[in-house]
């Protein structure tokens, strides 16, 4: 299969690379535009969404990423990655922009400060066993548009995972808990999409 690109501007990209490595799935680091050539999927990692947004502009990646997403490149965002895939953002900074792609509204830092961060097992549509997830100053999805399906919810009903076609966005970090099921799920999405 074509390698999955992992956006390596800032954040926990190393954990994503290691998770795919554990699954035997080839990856490539994306820090410049050339890194986007020949990839079969793209991961936008956890990190600080305002910083990844800025760096994607500074290093000339933003327009190419938006174009690839619109052409159907399978894309997977965790936490800050979900924020960057949202069409609309609540509680962002004044200048903050997103790539878009998911027809949802995402609220940044929706749980509060670091003291409100937590780990929990979450049911995930399409994965048989609950996924062990870390929510670190995590966002939530507050509204979903047409064609968006919910893949993960908390017990109180708050939406923490959505999929729209080839785009998957989740509030949490399976990559820091030793969890591989969601990465396997995304790799399967990439295989079927055959971008």
């Amino acid at each position: 299969m074509k390698p999955i690109g992992v956006l390596c501007l800032q954040g926990d990209f190393r954990e994503h690379l290691l998770t795919f490595k554990a699954l035997g799935i080839p990856t490539v680091r994306v820090r410049k535009e050339e890194g986007l050539i020949g990839i079969g999927g793209l991961v936008i990692p956890g990190g600080e969404s305002t910083v990844i947004d800025k760096l994607s502009k500074i290093f000339g990646l933003r327009d190419s990423i938006i174009k690839l997403i619109s052409q159907g490149l399978p894309t997977f965002g965790t936490c800050a990655g979900l924020i960057l895939l949202a069409e609309k953002l609540v509680d962002g900074t004044q200048t903050q922009q997103t790539f878009g792609g998911l027809n949802v509204v995402v609220q940044r830092n929706a749980f509060g400060s670091q003291l409100d961060s937590f780990e929990e097992d979450v049911d995930f549509v399409g994965i048989d066993t609950p996924v062990h997830a870390a929510f670190i100053r995590a966002p939530i999805v507050t509204e979903i548009g047409a064609d968006v399906s919910v893949v993960a919810k908390l017990e109180d009903g708050r939406i923490v995972g959505v999929q729209q076609g080839n785009i998957l966005g989740i509030s949490f970090h399976p990559e820091v808990t030793g969890e591989t099921a969601v990465h396997r799920y995304f790799a399967d999405m990439c295989k079927s999409a055959n971008f």
Partner: protein
């Protein structure tokens, strides 16, 4: 369906997790809400609230303490990125206050005047995560034993001289490499020499890395300094006086952010190093009399 575990807050995974998200980023010292905003706009991954930047603490002398809670509240309101704040070494009440203010991380820092010359804070008692400084692997592992969820090499704060930061990161990561080449039966003496618990020493020897994220700090003043630390193997950088004691803080902050991401690309580093105005006025660490060296605080 498999039985689920309950929500768990403030677990080691959750505490260390935030540090994982800060990797590849720059954490900037700020003393006012305005500075915090400038730092956020320049691309800081987090800000560190303190009373005075280290260069001023050094110049003015006196006892350096936790910031005024009003100031910390203002900084938390001004930005959307994580806010860290400094407590004195061993001052667990300052830490209790900072936790009550809901800062995202506490830095138990040698930059402030120590409150206890023997004991550090028992960081396991807190829900908020801690970052601590270290000059060598033994010190780093003692801090992790006390509950630190993130480490930073100390360097020599407030000098603009990167040589101590270099010494400390070389020492820490060199000692990690040395440990991973030892045989199992050599680890007992290694633990004794490092003055660190055997279990942690075994973990480092087995994995070849520290159990928590390691940033670097103390004397970083230019984009090249930040890239140097990243090439040495730091997970990210703290910049203290280097930004707001320079000629053009916003431009210098943004340049250091770019250099930290593109640390291995000399063409980018050349570009971002241009036209930044004056760097902070430095002090050579070699000229500092021993009692004025902050890195010696902590044990």
């Amino acid at each position: 369906m498999t039985e689920k575990s309950n929500d768990k807050q403030s677990t080691p995974l959750v505490k260390r997790g935030l540090a994982e998200m800060l990797k590849g980023g720059v954490i900037m010292d700020v003393v006012t809400a305005d500075q915090a905003k400038i730092a956020e706009d320049a691309g800081a991954v987090a800000v560190m609230a303190l009373e005075r930047v280290p260069a001023d603490i050094r110049a003015q002398g006196g006892v350096a303490r936790m910031s005024d809670p009003d100031l910390i509240d203002q900084i938390i309101s001004a930005v959307s990125i994580p806010v860290m704040a400094k407590a004195r070494i061993g001052h667990f009440v300052e830490a209790q206050i900072l936790q009550s203010l809901k800062v995202d991380y506490i830095d138990e820092s040698e930059v402030l005047s120590p409150a206890d010359y023997v004991h550090h804070i028992d960081k396991w008692k807190f829900d908020v995560p801690f970052v601590c400084g270290a000059t060598n692997l033994g010190e780093a592992l003692r801090r992790v034993t006390e509950g630190a969820a993130m480490l930073r090499s100390k360097g020599e704060a407030g000098t603009g001289d990167v040589s101590e930061a270099m010494k400390h990161i070389r020492t820490i990561l060199g000692e990690v490499r040395a440990l991973s080449s030892k045989s199992e039966d050599e680890l007992y003496v290694a633990a004794k020499e490092l003055q660190a618990p055997l279990e942690l020493v075994r973990e480092v020897a087995r994995t070849g890395k520290l159990p928590v994220v390691l940033f670097t700090a103390g004397g970083i003043a230019t984009p090249a300094d930040a890239a140097l630390m990243m090439q040495m193997g730091a997970d990210g950088v703290f910049v203290g006086s280097g930004i707001f004691k320079s000629g053009n803080p916003a431009a210098r902050a943004a340049a250091i952010v770019k250099a930290t991401t593109s640390f291995d690309d000399p063409d980018v580093l050349a570009n971002v190093s241009r036209g930044l105005g004056e760097a902070m006025v430095g002090i050579n660490v070699a000229d500092l009399p021993a009692p004025h060296r902050l890195a010696d605080r902590g044990w």
